[in-house]
Symmetry: C2
Subunit: 137 residues, 2 copies
């Protein structure tokens, strides 16, 4: 009903372009918890989702530990009011960090745009150009 699909280790590895070693490593760390079927690991749809989230965190430069921490926020038990309040604080921290990071990316994109314009200008002047090197800044 929910997500009966099951995945072999290399199947998953191929889909997400990681090695089987990586998946075993993640299990070893407790970040993934596949079942066993006669020794062989069997990953569920939930495992698969979790893996996708971990890799998403990895792509933006989080440590795997951090990624998992965030993911565990995602399906945390809510629990008491006190717990929930703490959770909201953690969420806010994480959100702020992401916003900061996004700002860094925006800054980099702007830099790249600046460089690109300079390069294109150089290209347009290439016919009239002096052989001079000119200033870098």
């Amino acid at each position: 009903m929910t997500d009966q699909r099951r995945y072999g280790i290399s199947e998953l590895a191929k889909e997400f372009d990681v090695t089987t070693r990586t998946l075993r490593f993640y299990e070893e760390k407790g970040w993934l918890t596949p079942l066993r079927e006669g020794g062989r690991r069997v990953f569920s749809g939930k495992d698969r989702t979790r893996l996708r989230l971990i890799l998403r965190g990895r792509r933006i430069g989080l440590s795997l530990e951090e990624s998992v921490e965030i993911i565990d926020l995602y399906d945390s038990p809510a629990g008491t009011v006190g717990q929930a309040t703490v959770l909201l604080e953690r969420l806010d921290e994480r959100r702020q960090a992401l916003l900061d990071q996004r700002a860094d990316i925006e800054a980099m994109l702007k830099s790249l745009q600046t460089v690109e314009q300079r390069v294109r200008a150089t290209l347009n002047n290439e016919s009239a150009g002096a052989a001079d090197g000119g200033q870098s800044r």
Copy 2:
């Protein structure tokens, strides 16, 4: 005229919240090239800017090598048309990578928002709530 200011190693370290070891390491790798004044390193305003960019790259999860590569695009000599064309390609790659990364961040932000809403909903139901804990893990 341009930026005469000079910086000592701990001065810079303090400003950017890194250790002096880090700055020495960056020099060792050739990513920073401070002058020497009787043995002591003297960093210029250019070095400082470079450092800021390196750390910006680091914050978004680039390897230091990658950061430097991008920075070197930033003040690359333009040179021939062929060089410029290659440069534009590299710029485009880098821009695409950054856009992808930004998308990952957006996705994470959305997830966090979803979790937050869920938690807040739980908080509002806390008065009518059963004492039951539900799932723990």
